[in-house]
Amino acid sequence: MQSVWNDLRYALRQLRKSPGFALTAILTLAFGIGATTAIFSVVDGVLLRPLPFPHASQLFALGDTLHGVTIAGNGQTVAPPEIPVYERTMKTASSLGGYITTGFELSGKVAPDAINAARMGASVFPTLGVQPLMGRTFTQKEDDQRAPVTVLSYATWKSRFHGDPNIVGKTILLDRRPYVVIGVMPRGFEFPLQPGQLNRTELWVPLSLTEDELTKQAGSWNFPMVGRRKPGVSLAQVQANANQAVGTIERGWPAFMSGLQMTASVRSLQDATTASARPLVRILFLSVFVVLLIACANLAGLLLVRAIRRQRETAVRLALGVSSRALVRQTVLESLVLSVSGGLLGVALAALLIRVSIHYLPETLPRIQDIRMHPAVVGFGLLLAIGTGVICALAPAFAALHTDMNAALKQGGRSGSAGGSHARLRSALVVAEIAIALVLVVLSGLLLRSFQKMRNVSLGFNPQHVVLASYSLPMHQYGTQTSVDAFNHELLRRIQALPGVRSVGLASWLPMSGSSNHTGFVAEGYTQPKGVPTNVEEAIQVEGAYFHAMDIPLLRGRTFIGSDDGQAPLVVIVNRKLAEHYWPHQNPIGKHIHIGSNQYSGLPITVVGEVADIKTDAPDAETSEQFYQPVDQWVPSLGKLAAADDISGNGMSLVVRTAQSPAAMESAIHAVFHSLDPQLAVTQVETMQTAISDTEAPRRFNTAIISAFGIIAALLAMLGIYSVIAFTVAMRTQEIAIRMALGASRTGIRRLVLASGARLAVAGCAIGLTAALLVSRLFSSLLFQVNAFDPLILMLGTVAVLLLAIAASAPTAQRAASIEPVRALHDE
């Protein structure tokens, strides 16, 4: 123990003697360990940490997988009539319930606002196993009887109701209907576990499925289910049980769904919550780990230089009889002092990084609130520091053990041959650094190119000078089609009258909103392929001059006119992709479609126009087949499919094309809404450019962060090249002097040094290119319209790294060319 203590004191003394070296090494490692720890906190929070529910591993998510049909959320949701069937049949679950996210206008004693909420079955809270902080959750009776009760989230209770200790029992207005607050959930409780930070659920109301949902929405897969396995029951058993339930469900299907093929999909809730984020998080971690490897290679290189410079000291120790173990211990201790110091600083840096950058994480990332410096994350950072210290000590320990005692003692520690072999080891480290850096640079290039391609994608409409606003008319006040139509017509009239407005329209779903509505669709004259029971297409209801406001090109026929109302012949406008699918190489004008399926459909609707395809999701998402109907004609077009209380146009988005700055228009739009209905909550008042930018955020985030890692990796590799070349030149000072004495010009010496840097770079690039080709397949899911083996990117990446390597060698080359031969020879 005493000897360890002595070695430690010696190591500290040695580092105090070289503060520059110590600082460089500690900062390099602090950066590497800090970045890795920060990204690990994301991995831990998003993927590893159990969900914030008791015995979370017992929780599972249940959905239906429809085969041969493309619908959003396939495998994640069930239709409402299935919920009671699953609840009855799933004997493998101790409890099970369905839920759906929704929105409400919250008003009453608080400022009116649109909030995110969830309708939850009474069994969901017991399934999750979280007790309320105050009051209680719903009873089954309240769920069955559609009781107007609500449970608040902790954040909502604190922020909107100022933490009122008497909130339980009080009444609030949701969509202008009174609801009694029966409980408040504890801090940190969140369900459903939505991605991002903006869509947190603020309150919960009973699921209370309506008669219409239970009887007519067998084909509406919008409700996820969550359950808890009974003790000792495996997921596979739950899956088998769920498939039995599917048989019962299929027997209850209406005739028009008879052709569908469905299986149940059971996954652990953790898996279901994090599946979409897994590729990104893994790649982030891989990238940052690569940066850490480069940092380690740099530190190992620096320690190796020290070992070479201290060969004489090592030789003296060997001559005095030091054991190999003691020699290695001293080297490892010195490395550990550096790495643990770097690790502590790195962990502090990671804490700062998490605090600062958490707001910049993409909204597609789930469980962001769980990303924190948990003790496990701190432990990971410190373990990483210790591991790094031991690994970095390997090269110098090897050098120390292989010291040529005789030569080192005779030549005063300046043995060229020993330095040469260690320099080769150091060169190998740098070659590895360059190779790794090239992989990251190539990946950054591929992502940047993908991002550029995405930015160049034609959206199908003109997003310039467009302002958006969304609203949802509360049923309580707008319970009839007439009242909804009156509001919408007056809104359009008043907005159109605003100065600078060129055109204005309404749509049920906006491009780039991330939401859409898919509906069963039948095209007359189209023969359904075998195995495809129902066509499901994206349906959009519009009003006013929507196509003009969006600047969507009309390709054939006409757009909607004022007379296309509920009494007029039914009309529809289709997009090019849909027309090409159902009537390839034909003029779609005059063709007919029906909503529903072949067996169970609405009234015939005539195609009167064909418009260009537009992107309804992110620019890099597949364009969907779309059809547009006038708002007034949607319910009539459903024919016998329509329910008596069906209303269209009560949840719409406003699209305003303006001649002036769209941002300046936002307050005027707010004022118009306020003048029509002062209590109405208007959301997402923003420019179309902002909406597009939001959809690009995940790809922008991927690109930015991996490019940042690529740049850091390249810079670290440059530092590595610089130090190895500088070290090599220092070792070769005499050789350079001899060359000069023999007539080498300064240019020749410069060339000699640059060539040695270029040689390392070429070797590193050759290995890096091979590695990039091997690993690029892993990243193909992140690419858009770019081949993972894009030769241009590979070439540019290689050239960039080569040039950086040569640039890193340039200062040393200049220094070498400035060597005065006479002094170098006399210093011999």
């Binding site: 001899i738 000069m740 023999l742 007539g743 010009s745 300064r746 006479v822 020879l825």
Partner: protein
């Protein structure tokens, strides 16, 4: 002030009032103080003197490794004291052959490559011509059988012979040898001195720095340096005796 007297009219090197001053912090050290010296073509001159007398500094200036602080230095009738680095490099490469005390062979190059090295710095010399010269030089010093060896695989005497071959390969006007036997045992030392003598006999001009009187006597002419000045042999003995007395 004594002057090194030329013994031939055909001067290859002519030096007049040459000085070299080193500045370290605020200390001014006069390494050479007004040297006058001439070396004729084909002459074999030894420069001797005690440690610190300026021998190596003088040889560095003669070899254009260093520049004088003052005075005139003509090589082949051309003033070379104020040339730029590139010009000095070219002259070093073409007109001067160095033999160092510690051989200064490059450890990573073979014997052949070491000897070829100065020739690679000459533009326009073909590979065939380089090979011919390298082979000839190595044969001349008796090292033709060690072409592919690395310096570490040779004895000190062999390394110095390779260094002599390297100096000869460029057919320089003068060979400058700085204590060529300093790192050798007496047998190898004598062999190298014998080699230099033979080279001189074949017409080479040699200027050798040595502190060993036995080897200095092998030269045609001996120039004695003391405190940066050229002195006669008698003066040198007198000054050294006085210095020894003072130390006592």
């Amino acid at each position: 002030m004594a002057t090194a007297v030329p013994t031939q009219d055909d001067a290859l090197i002519r030096i007049e009032a040459l000085t070299k001053v080193f500045y370290t912090d605020e200390i001014e050290t006069h390494a050479l103080s007004g040297i006058h010296m001439t070396i004729a073509r084909g002459e074999y001159v030894a420069i001797s003197g005690p440690s610190g007398c300026g021998k190596s500094t003088l040889l560095s200036i003669l070899g254009l490794l260093d520049t004088p602080s003052g005075g005139v230095y003509q090589l082949n009738d051309r003033p070379v004291e104020n040339l730029n680095f590139a010009e000095r490099s070219r002259i070093r490469n073409q007109e001067i052959g160095f033999i160092f005390q510690s051989f200064n062979l490059i450890g990573d190059l073979t014997v052949y490559e070491n000897v070829e090295l100065p020739l690679t710095y000459r533009s326009g010399m073909s590979a065939v011509e380089r090979k011919r010269r390298v082979d000839e030089s190595l044969a001349r010093v008796g090292m033709a059988h060690r072409l592919r060896h690395y310096p570490a695989q040779l004895s000190g005497g062999q390394q110095q012979r390779v260094a002599v071959a390297r100096a000869l390969a460029g057919s320089p006007s003068i060979l400058l040898a700085d204590e060529p036997t300093g790192n050798l045992d007496s047998r190898n030392g004598e062999a190298v001195m014998q080699l230099l003598k033979e080279l001189h006999k074949d017409g080479a001009t040699i200027c050798m720095v040595t502190h060993d009187p036995r080897f200095a006597k092998l030269a045609e002419r001996e120039i004695h340096l003391f405190d940066g000045q050229v002195v006669s042999e008698a003066d040198l003995r007198q000054k050294m005796a006085a210095e020894t007395e003072m130390l006592k």
